[in-house]
């Protein structure tokens, strides 16, 4: 066996704290190593040529590249050696950058560690077996989870690209957060006016199948062939009959139901259609409030419904959709006011959240666009906006910036002046974060044209005094404490991960960070992919972002899906479990432990029972290999012998 080793300087990233020449020299002493060199940028084109040339010149049959993380460049170099005629699985990488040069300063120790990591890689490489991927058919349908603006964009782009799209939306209507907004910054464009048409497109597109008021129950399968169980929640209204006339809503005697669409800015009816432009425009009953469910008698809506659509006995329904890819666009949630006791924790009716204010501003909102304070329905003259209500505050567990509050506060300040010319807005801020096209100018307009008074400092306490709300805070520019007597206080409550985000991630087998936002496969270069192939991210579920950014990501995700589906067949990863029939004793413990049910019992001609791996289903986790007592089932490329080789290399050195 002739192993070739290529040690990368990565400029000074590696060479700065590792003596790469010494590593190469030491590596040459390892039995089996036929060639070892170090090169400035191994991933560069000349760097890769160096490898292909060496393979030909030195007749190398196994390659070790000591460079950055295999999570970064393994594929790059696999392609390289394949070009040179080697099996792509004859490559091993030693991660001497992320795991050595970047975390230690002691050059001597680093160099020594590098030498050993290379030796490990060599010992594993010598155990590498050629692997050949088989190809399988792709189901060219995509499911989009979440019907917000990001999800809709992804769905529309995929559908226009000719794909069948299944959209699953948790709430009764699509549109997400954007549908709730009155205007959008920095153009003061009417939000629903620009979103409405998109919503209609989604509803009417013959390639988009919409499941509203539905949730993901279970996800099975793998890229190209996912089976998705969808729970259609009972609306207690037969949507095939409901015309959305709204008569039931008018007549419903229960007027105190919580309005999820308006974030409780005002109560709604127990049976309701979330908003006038709702798509689908169908009524649903909230059994938490409906008298038919709480008291067991009422039935008004059933009486008045002209099409007899009401059905109190309706049950959840489970449907299954087969798709080849998944776009996750589950959006974000908002911090509960209760978490901000110093701001009243939701006890004071006149300290409301930004989104509630948005609904109040909105012509189709609970106050038909008239700004009035919830407590006494009077028009507020002094409105105080508190940015970072929870954001950038470790004590409430939100150390990060919520991204869009600075901008929508400026917008709301402007709108307030528009609605009530003789009003005065105050904005408490930490820093104004307006790094977008036309954004900073916008926040300036709020101050200069619309006279919003910006006070740099945090608010320490908000409390009612008579009819006023007293906002107590600091002005860090003047270095004094300030108190503002307000009629209405608007809190830019921190944006957080959508509730149930972790559970969704677990269904999808993608990772999420400590705050519940989904982790992309590379923060810079693979921002919409996840580490689970076939699952893509769009919008705020990956990290808080405003509308244009969400739309962009929606399209990006769609592009990824389209390119994935540009081939009819996908190549399977051959690094999967393989059974050695001679060694297998048929105890079938592997069948018990396989997380994917990828192993089945098989009878050989001689009547012996053995385990058999279903190649397309096996995901390559290796649980079976560590279950099998006799090592008969081996996860290819991570076989016992390969790992043992690494272990003994470390332990013997």
């Amino acid at each position: 066996m002739r192993v070739g080793v290529f040690i990368c300087h990565c400029g000074s990233n590696i060479a700065g704290t590792i003596d790469v020449a010494k590593v190469a020299a030491e590596t040459r002493k390892i039995p089996g190593v036929a060639f070892a060199t170090n090169y400035m940028y191994t991933c560069s084109e000349p760097g890769q040529k160096e490898i292909t040339d060496a393979i030909a010149r030195e007749h190398l049959d196994r390659i070790v590249v000591a460079a950055c993380s295999p999570r970064m460049h393994e594929n790059t170099f696999r392609k390289t050696i394949e070009k040179a005629g080697l099996n792509r699985y004859f490559l091993e990488m030693a991660n001497i950058r992320e795991h050595i040069s970047w975390i230690g300063l002691d050059k001597e120790l680093n160099t020594n560690k590098a030498i050993e990591e290379v030796a490990m890689a060599v010992s594993k490489a010598m155990q590498d077996k050629p692997l050949f991927s088989s190809s399988f058919k792709v189901n060219k349908r995509v499911v989009v989870i979440g019907g917000g603006v990001a999800g809709m964009q992804a769905a529309l782009d995929c559908a226009d690209g000719g794909l069948e799209v299944v959209m699953v939306e948790k709430s009764p209507a699509i549109g997400g957060m954007m549908a709730r907004l009155d205007k959008t910054f920095p153009t003061i464009d009417c939000s629903i006016c620009i979103l409405g048409p998109k919503m209609v497109d989604v509803a009417q597109h013959d390639k988009i199948k919409l499941y509203a008021y539905s949730e993901i129950e279970e996800i099975k399968g793998y890229v190209g062939n996912y089976q998705i169980k969808i729970r259609k929640k009972a609306a207690y209204v037969d949507w095939t009959k409901c015309t959305g006339c709204g008569l039931c809503m008018e007549k419903c005697p229960t007027k105190n139901a919580y309005d999820y669409f308006n974030f409780g800015a005002a109560p709604t009816r127990a049976i309701n259609i979330p908003f006038p432009q709702a798509i689908p425009k169908k009524a649903k009953i909230d059994p938490k409030y409906c008298r038919q469910f709480t008291k067991g008698k009422c039935g008004v809506c059933a009486k008045v419904c002209p099409t007899g659509a009401i059905n109190y006995e309706q049950q959840d329904e489970i449907v299954t959709e087969d798709v080849g890819a998944i776009v996750v666009a589950t959006g974000y949630g908002l911090l509960d006011q209760e978490r901000l006791p110093e701001y009243g924790g939701g006890r004071y009716p006149d300290a409301i959240t930004g989104i509630q204010y948005e609904r109040i501003l909105n012509a189709s909102g609970p106050t038909s666009g008239h700004i009035i304070r919830p407590s006494d329905h009077e028009e507020p003259k002094t409105v105080v906006f508190v940015s970072c209500a929870g954001s950038r505050d470790k004590s409430v567990g939100v150390p990060y910036c919520s991204n869009f509050c600075c901008m929508y506060i400026a917008k709301q300040a402007i709108l307030t002046k528009d609605h009530i010319p003789d009003s005065q807005s105050y904005v408490f801020y930490m820093d104004i974060r307006a790094p977008g096209k036309g954004y900073d100018e916008f926040t300036r307009r709020a101050q200069e044209e619309y006279g919003a008074k910006y006070i740099r400092g945090r608010v320490s306490r908000i409390y009612p005094k008579g009819k006023k709300m007293i906002v107590q805070g600091a002005d860090t520019l003047l270095g004094t404490t300030v108190e503002v007597e307000a009629d209405l206080v608007v809190l830019a409550t921190a944006a957080i991960a959508a509730d149930g985000a972790p559970q969704m991630a677990e269904k999808l087998h993608i990772s999420y960070d400590t705050f519940g936002f989904y982790v992309e496969s590379h923060p810079k270069l693979r921002p919409v992919e996840t580490n689970t192939s076939g699952v893509f991210l769009a919008g705020a579920c990956q990290g808080l972002k405003d509308i244009p950014a969400s739309v962009t990501q929606g399209s990006a995700a769609a592009a990824k899906v389209l390119s994935l589906f540009s081939k009819d067949m996908l190549e399977s990863d051959p690094a999967i479990a393989q059974v050695n029939n001679n060694a297998c004793v048929g105890c079938l413990k592997c069948v018990k432990t396989c997380p994917f049910g990828a192993i089945v019992e098989d009878k050989l001609r001689d009547g012996r029972t053995v385990a058999k791996v279903i190649e397309t289903v096996c995901a390559g986790c290796g649980v079976c290999t560590s279950t099998c007592p006799c090592g008969a089932i081996q996860l290819q490329h991570f076989t016992d012998n390969q790992l043992l080789a690494e272990v003994s290399t470390i332990c013997q050195m």
Partner: protein, 321 residues
């Protein structure tokens, strides 16, 4: 509730200016079946000027007392004084660091092994004893009291040290008092600084701060303030005259300890509870009726309201028979 035993550290204030807090605390704890054992030869808790000038000394002072309790074999030390409490908690936390611990232990005769937990007496009553037990002892109702519970600045803060109640909107006293049947007002200045700490150097500021707290209490519709801290009590009570003269107000609002109110509800005499020791008299507010009477009155009022309805139901009954 089972008999429980606590090391009880009253601290210097409760031996002097806040004697009535100590008295009422002991009375109430006794009534609630909690045994308080005073450590022999206890000394300054360290929250005194010590903690502003010398961290090791402050911790040593606290540790000395904790060490005594440790030796007594009691797991918990309780103190009514939030200042002492923070002193102990700080010491415990700082001494988690072995190096620091060693340094401190060198300063005191008996080494301290950080096995004693410090709890405010309020926490003991609220959490260990619990509202149920608190309610069960009530014999009298105080119908005239409208209280604004004032927690002060350090009883629940900093949260990572205090580990008790909500740092911004604490409710322990609110719940206890309403359990006694007292009318508790929603008081937003519960934790607002009353300035006591600056009583000497910054009189003007203190007066403004105190003024705010007092007026906010009145705005809340309260006719008295209930506290759990000797310094708060002293400041809010004694300073009213001064505030009035400087701010042109005319406050005359009694400031009671929550234990005094509890004592009254448990039927103890104002004398035992040292009600006479506070400056702004509360005598006009502490009229009491026995629980039974009170319930009778309530029942009658209710009956008066229900009367006609009741008749109706009677009729239907007769029909049935």
């Amino acid at each position: 509730m089972a008999e429980t035993k606590y090391a009880y550290f009253c601290g210097c204030s409760l031996e002097g200016t806040a004697k009535e807090y100590d008295d009422s605390m002991r009375v109430v704890m006794k009534a609630l079946g909690a045994e308080l054992v005073e450590p022999d030869d206890w000394s300054c808790c360290g929250s005194s000027p010590a903690h502003t000038v010398d961290y090791d000394l402050a911790s040593a002072l606290a540790a000395r007392n904790l060490a005594i309790v440790e030796k007594m074999g009691l797991p918990t030390i309780t103190t009514p004084c939030p200042s002492c409490l923070i002193g102990f908690k700080k010491a415990n936390r700082a001494m988690a660091n072995e190096v620091f611990k060693k340094g401190v232990n060198e300063l005191i005769d008996e080494p301290y092994n950080c096995s004693v937990e410090a709890k405010s007496s309020l926490q003991v009553i609220y959490e260990d004893i619990g509202l149920e037990a608190i309610a069960s002892r009530v014999t009298h109702i105080l119908p005239d009291l409208k209280v604004a519970p004032y927690y002060g600045c350090i009883l629940n803060r900093p949260p990572e040290l205090a580990h008790f109640d909500d740092p911004e909107n604490p409710i322990a006293m609110d719940r206890i008092l309403s359990t006694l049947g007292v009318d508790v007002r929603d008081f937003v200045f519960k934790t607002e600084c009353c300035g006591a700490a600056f009583g000497v150097p910054k009189r003007k500021m203190v007066n403004e701060l105190t003024y705010k707290v007092l007026s906010m209490a009145l705005d809340a519709g309260a006719n008295c303030i209930v506290v759990a801290c000797p310094l708060c009590q002293q400041n809010l009570d004694l300073r009213q005259g001064q505030v009035n003269s400087l701010m042109g107000s005319n406050f005359n609002i009694p400031v009671l300890y929550f234990t005094q109110v509890m004592g009254l509800a448990y039927g103890h005499s104002p004398k035992e509870l040292g009600i006479d020791k506070i400056f702004v008299s509360a005598d006009h507010l502490i009229g009491r009726v026995t629980k039974e009477e009170y319930e009778k009155q309530k029942a009658q009022e209710a009956a008066a309201k229900k009367a006609p309805k009741a008749k109706a139901t009677e009729e239907t009954k007769t029909e049935e028979t």
